[in-house]
Point group: D2
Chain length 427, copies 4
C-alpha cells in the first residue's frame, strides 16, 4: 500500500525530472558569480565553502539514492563518501567540519564533474526504475531537492559572511540593489483563544519535523502586521538597548558583553555625525535603508528588542496559526537576496515570507508523536532538537518554491548570519 | 487593595516569624558538619561555596527588605552589597561568580554574625511593622525563605561536588546510609487527550515562573509508575548506550565525546570483574544499589536513555497533569540526602517527589501571559528562560515544605551535579 | 669518599638540627596571621594555597628522606604521597595543580600535625643516624630546607595575590609599613671585556642549576647602581610606554593587548586628578611611594622599559659578574615584605639583594656540563629549563640566609606576581 | 660615507637586477604545480596561503622601497598596504593573521599582476636611480630578496601542512622522489675549549640578528658527524621515548600529553604488524626511509631524543664554531624538497646544510651590541627574541644561495611543520 504522498509523486514522475534539473541547475547558477577561490574558503566553523555545498548536496543523492538503488553502483570517488558527509553518523566517518575550507582538492571543476555525473545517473534512475522502486526513488529525490534548496540559502548566507570578513568588502552580485522600502504603520492583528492545529497538512512535501499535525491550545494573542524596521531598531539602539541588562536574557547579556556588540551583524557605524549607517549586503556596502526590515539579528537581540517594545516574540504555534490567515504568497518568486521593504498592499500580515526569517520564542522540539525516519536519513532533523530556537516564514535568500506555512527553520540563540528578523506579538 | 496571597500571609503573621526562624536555622544546621575550610571552597564556576550560600541568602533579606523597608537602614557591611549579589544587575555591581571561592574574608564566623544580625532585624520588622507595610514585608520574607530553600539544596549538591573533587572522597554525613531500594516492575499510567490546566493555582506561595495558570492541549500519553533504576541504566551502558551516536542528540554526542563520558557523574567503575560499581554520596563512597533510581544525569543522558528504552521524556505539562492525579505526598518530610529506592506502596505514580528531579523535554520558557515583577527582584526567574530544560518534582535534597506540583526547576542540558533522574513517558 | 660539601655539613650536624627547626618554624610563623580559610584558597593555577605549601614542604622531607632512610618507615597518611606531590613524576601520581584549592580536607590543623610528626622524625633521624648514612641525610635535609625557603617566598606572593583578588583588599600584616624610599641618582658602573667565571664556587649549599662554575666571555658592559623606581616607571607610563608597540617584544605586545594592561600588577589608578596612585601590599592598599623600586613587573614590561630608557636588561652572567664586585650584603636580615627604597650607602651597586628580583635577558638554560641528580629529586630544576627567564638577586620576601650571588630564580615571561623589578644595563 | 656592504652591492648593480628577477621568478615557479584554490587556503594560524606569500613578498618591495624611493609613487591597490602587512606595526594596520585564508579577493591572478607591476617598477628604479640613492635601494632590494627567500621555504612547508590536512593526501610534486638514504655510523668530532668568534663576518649579506660578530667562550665539546636518522628515532619510540616523562622537559611533557603525540608530525603508523611506517612528503605518502634524517620534530622532541641518547643539543655558538670547520657546501644547489639521506662523503660533519634545520639549545636572543635598524624595517627580527629557539644550517626546502654559517632560524619550542631535525652534541 502506498502513501498518498508517494502516489502524488509517482503520478508526477516526469515533472520530478524537470524539477530535479531545475533545482540542481539553480545551485550552479548561484555560484556563477564566484571564482574557484571564492568557492573554497570557509569563514567560520558554522559556515561552509560554496564548493562544499555543491559537493555535499550531490553526495546526498549519491549516498542515499544511488548507493542504495542504482544497479551496479560504483562511487564517483570513494573518498567523497567521507569528505562530503556532513553529520550522518549512520553513513560512517565524516571530515572535520571546521576544516572544510582546507579541501583545495578536489577542485571546483572536479566537483562540477561530480555533479554532472550524479545528475545523469539520477535522471537515468528516474527514467528507468520500475514502478515499485520508483516510489521510494521519488520520495528520496524529492527529499534531496528540498535538502539542496536548504543549502542554496546557506550558500548565500555563507558567502555573505565570507565577503564581510574580507576588508575589501566585495559584492557577490553586480545587478541593481533591490528597490527601497516604504514606511508603513505597524498594526496588530488579533486572534482569539482556542484550539489550533499546527503541522503539515500532508499536501505536498514536508520535512519530518513538521509532522504530525496536532492540536495546540492558544490563549488570545496579537501579531504585528509587518516586520520591525531598521528605523525602529535604530531607535532601540539610540535609547540604550545594548547598554541595559534589564532588557536582555541573562545569557544574551553575557554574550553581548563578551563580544562587545552594539548593533546587528553587517552594520557599520557612521564615520561622522550626520552620515548614515551602512550595511553589508550581497550587493556590497549600502546605505542603511530605514524602512527595510532589520535583519541578521540573533535570538537574543530579537528577544531584547521585543521586551523594549513592550511586546514579545510569537510562539511558533501562534505564528503558524496566524500565517494560515494571511493572504501573503508563500512563494515569492525570484529571490531578491536582500530584504525588501516593500509590503504586500492590503494584506493584514505582510512580509510573512520572502523577506526575513522570524525568530519565535519556541525552542526547537519534537511535535507530539514525532518519529524520525529509520536509518541514517533519520538524522536529518531530530537529533538537532535541543538548544536551538525556531524561525518561521522564509527570507529573501530562500529559493523559489521552498516556503510553506508549516516550515520550521532553527538556529542557536546567538546565530546572526542568517536573514533573521523580528515580528512582534503580544498577549 | 490587597491580593488574596498577601491576605493569607498577613493573617498568618506570627507563623511567618516561626517559619522564618525555622528555615534560617535549617541552613546553618546543614553546614554544621562542615569546617570553615569546607565552607570556603568552590569546586567549579557553576557551584558556590557554602559560606557564600549562607551569606547570599542573608544578603537577599538585607537588600530586598531591610534596605527598602527598615527605618534608618544601615548596611551590616557596605561591601557585602556587591560581594554577595549573585546576578541582580538592578542592584548594581556583582563579584565575579568564578571567584567566589577566593573570598577567604569575610570569615565563616563573620558570615554567621551577619546572619544573626539580619535575622534579628527581620524579626523586629515582622513584629513591628504596621499593617500596610507588612503585606509587602510578608510577601518579600516569604519569597526570601523560598529563595533560601533553593540555596539549601544547592548547598548540598555543591558540597557533594566539592568532596567528589577531593581524592580523599570525604563523607559529609556520618549518619547511617538510607535504606536500600526494592525492586518493582515499571508500569504505565495512561492519560487521555484533552485540555489540561497547568501552573500554580494561587493557593500558597509560588514563584512567578509558575504563573499564570493556563490551558494546554495534551495528546494522549502514558507516564511511568516510577523512576528509572540504576539496574536499568547499567543495562543501557552495557548494551553500548554511550557508544552509539544514534541514541543521542547531536550536541549531546559531541559533549559526551569531548568529555569522554561512559557513565553518570559520581559513579566509579569496578576495579575488577565481579566487583560492584560504586557511587559517591554525601555519605561517602557506597556500593551502587541497583534498585535505587539512577541520578546525577544530564538532560542529554536522560534523553538518550529514553530513546534507547523506546520511550521519551515527558513534557512539563504532561508531568504536571499526571502529578495532579498522583496520591504521592508533595512533602516528603526529612530529606534523606540520597535517593531512596523505597516506593510509596499502592500509588500509581511513585517517586514524583523527594527522590530525584525529573528531566522533562520542555525547554524553560515563559507561560502565556507571564510577567516578571518590577525592579531587580524581577530578575529572579525570567531572564534565565533560554537554553535550559525544566526538571519537575523534587529530590532527596529538597528541604521540607519546598515541593509542589507546579514547581519548575531548570538547568542547562549538560548539568549533572543536581539530583536529576529519569521518569519515562510515551505517546 | 665524601664530598667537601658533605664533610662541611657532617661537621656541622648539631647546627643542622637547629637550622632545621628554625626554618621549619619560620614557615609556620609566616602563616600565623592567616585563618584556616585564608590558608585553603588558591587564587590562580600558578599559585598554591598556604596549607598546600605547608604540607608539600613536609612531604618533601617525608618522601625523599624518611621513606628512603627511616628504619621501619610508615607514611603519616598514605594519600598525602599523591596529594602533596608537586611535579615529581618519578614519585608517581600527582594531584591536579589547578585543584589545590579544593582540598578542604585534610584541614590546616591536620597539616600542622603532619608537620610536627615529620619534624620529630627528621630530628630523630638526624640525631641517631650513623656516620655513613648521615652524610646523605645531611645533604638531603639541607636541600629540603632550601626547598622550604623557596616555598616561604611563594607562600607570601601567593597570599598577596589571593588578597588582591578579594574586593575587600585585606592586609596580611598589621605591623608598620616599612619606611619610605629616598631619592638617589642612577649611576653606571662599568666592567671591562674578558673571561668571567660564573656559577657556584662550592662553598656552602647551592642548587644544581648553579653548577658547574664555568667561564663566559663578556664584552664590556655597564650596570645601573640601583633599581628602577616607581617615579621612573610612572614616567614611562605617562610617555605612552604601554601604547607604543615599537617598545615591546612582539609576544609581549600581544599579551599586553589581550590583557588590556596599562600599569604594573597591584597598582590602582587615581580616582581623580591630583590624587596619588596606590599599590596593594602585604600591608594592604598604600599610597605609591615614588622612590621605592618598581615591582611586580613581567619580563615583557621590564624589557620594554629598558628599551624606552635606551638601555637593556643585563644577562645573568653580567649580573653575577657585577654582583661579585658589590659590597652589598647577600643576607639582608629580616624580610620587610615590601621593597624598601632605602639604599646601602656608599655601595656602587645598591639593592642587589633583599628588594626585588631582577629580570635578566637570559633564558633559563643548563650551564655547560650541567647534570641533574639521579632519580626523582633530579626533577627539581632541569626539567624547567625552557621558555623561562632568569631573575637574579633576591627580594623583600626572600627568607633570611636564602640569598647568594650565584642564585638563579626563573619565571615565564608574563609572570608578574613575584617581587620582580628592573636593574638596567648597557653595552 | 658608504658602508662596505653597500659598496659591494653598488659595484654589483647589474647582477642585482638579475638576482632580483631570478629570486622573484623562483617564487612563482614554486607555485606553478598549484591551483588558485590550493594557493588560497590557510591550514593553521601559523601558516599562510601561498597567495599571501606571493603578495606579501611583493608588498615588502612596494612598501619599503617604492613608497619611499619611487618618484611619484602611487600604490598598486591602496588596500594592499594593510592586507599584506604581516607584522610591521610601524607601517600601520594589519589584516588579522588567522584570517589570511579568507582573502579570496584579490584573486591569485590579481596577485600575479601585482607582482609583475612591482617587478617592473623595481627594475626601473634599479636601472635609473642615481648613485647616492642606489646604495640604499640596493641594500633594501637585497634585504627584500632574502626576505622573499625565507618565504619561499615557508610557502613549501605551509603547502605541505595544508595537503597533510586533506584526507586525500595530495602530492604537490609529481617528479621522482629523491634517492634513498645510505646507512652511516655516527661519529663525534671534538673541539677544544677556548674563545670562539661567532656572528656574520661582514662578507656578503646577512640579517641584522647575525651581528655583531663577537666572542664566546666555549668549553670543550663534541658534535655528531651526521643528523639523527629515522631508524634511530624509531628505536627511541620503540623503547618508550614518548611514554617516559623523565626524558622530557616539563612543558614538553605537558604538550605531548595534551596533544597525545606518539611520533613525529607527518608519520603514519603501520596498519598491520610487519608493514612499514609511512611519512607524508611533498611527493605524497611515502614509505619511511630508515636512513634519511628524521624531520618535522619540535624542540621538545629533539631535546628528549638527545637526553635518551645520553647526549644533548648543541648551543648555537657550538654549532657555528663547528660549521666553520666543516667542508660541506653551504649552498647545496637545487632543493630536493625532502631530506636526502645521502652524505657528503669524507666530510667530518655531513648534512650541516640542505637537509634539515638543526635545533640548538639556545633561545633566540640578541648578540651583545645588537641594534635593530631604525623604523618599521627594524621590526624584522629583534621583536621576536623571546620564547623561541634557534635552528641552524638549512634544509631541503631552503632556496639556493640562502644558506650560511651564521644564519639564525628560530621557531617556538612546539613548532613541527618546518624541516627540523637533530644533530647531537656532548660535553
Amino acid at each position: 500500500m502506498k502513501s498518498r504522498n508517494a502516489e502524488l509523486q509517482s503520478a508526477a514522475r516526469m515533472p520530478l525530472v524537470e524539477k530535479f534539473n531545475e533545482v540542481r541547475r539553480y545551485s550552479v547558477r548561484l555560484a556563477e558569480p564566484l571564482s574557484a577561490e571564492d568557492c573554497g574558503a570557509q569563514s567560520m566553523p558554522d559556515a561552509s565553502p560554496v564548493k562544499w555545498h555543491l559537493a555535499h548536496t550531490t553526495w546526498f543523492f549519491e549516498t542515499f539514492i544511488l548507493e542504495k538503488l542504482e544497479p551496479g553502483f560504483r562511487p564517483f570517488q570513494p573518498a567523497f563518501r567521507m569528505l562530503f558527509n556532513s553529520y550522518y553518523n549512520g553513513v560512517g566517518e565524516k571530515h572535520v567540519r571546521a576544516h572544510r575550507g582546507l579541501l583545495t582538492r578536489p577542485s571546483l571543476s572536479e566537483v562540477l564533474d561530480y555533479r554532472r555525473d550524479v545528475d545523469a545517473r539520477i535522471s537515468r534512475l528516474l527514467a528507468q526504475s520500475d514502478r515499485s522502486a520508483s516510489d521510494e526513488i521519488c520520495r528520496l529525490v524529492t527529499l534531496g531537492l528540498h535538502h539542496e534548496q536548504q543549502h542554496q540559502e546557506l550558500l548565500l548566507t555563507d558567502v555573505k559572511h565570507l565577503f564581510w570578513m574580507n576588508p575589501l568588502k566585495p559584492a557577490m552580485l553586480d545587478t541593481a540593489f533591490p528597490g527601497a522600502g516604504e514606511e508603513m504603520p505597524l498594526r496588530w492583528k488579533a486572534f482569539d483563544a482556542g484550539i489550533a492545529e499546527i503541522g503539515a497538512r500532508g499536501e505536498g512535501f514536508c520535512f519530518d519535523n513538521e509532522t504530525p499535525r496536532h492540536r495546540r491550545f492558544l490563549e488570545a494573542f496579537e501579531v504585528a502586521s509587518r516586520l520591525v524596521t531598521n528605523a525602529e531598531y535604530l531607535r532601540f539602539m539610540e535609547e540604550g538597548g545594548y547598554q541595559d541588562p534589564s532588557l536582555w536574557l541573562s545569557e544574551g547579556w553575557d554574550w553581548l558583553c563578551a563580544n562587545r556588540l552594539t548593533h546587528p551583524l553587517y552594520w557599520q557605524a557612521p564615520a561622522n555625525d550626520g552620515q548614515p549607517w551602512r550595511e553589508f549586503s550581497l550587493y556590497g556596502m549600502q546605505e542603511l535603508d530605514l524602512h527595510r526590515p532589520v535583519t541578521h539579528l540573533s535570538f537574543f537581540e530579537a528577544d531584547a528588542y521585543a521586551r523594549w517594545a513592550d511586546a514579545r516574540l510569537p510562539t511558533e504555534a501562534e505564528w503558524e496559526h496566524a500565517a494560515e490567515f494571511s493572504r501573503g504568497s508563500r512563494d515569492t518568486g525570484a529571490s531578491p537576496f536582500h530584504p525588501s521593504g516593500m509590503l504586500d498592499d492590503g494584506d493584514e500580515l505582510a512580509q510573512m515570507f520572502g523577506s526575513c526569517w522570524q525568530w519565535t520564542s519556541s525552542s526547537y522540539a519534537a511535535y507530539p508523536g514525532y518519529a524520525p525516519a529509520a536509518g541514517a536519513i533519520g538524522e536529518y532533523n531530530g537529533k538537532f532538537m535541543v538548544n536551538q530556537y525556531v524561525l518561521r516564514g522564509s527570507s529573501c535568500a530562500t529559493p523559489p518554491s521552498h516556503s510553506r506555512t508549516s516550515y520550521r527553520n532553527f538556529f542557536p540563540s546567538n546565530a546572526r548570519w542568517q536573514f533573521s528578523g523580528i515580528r512582534l506579538a503580544r498577549s
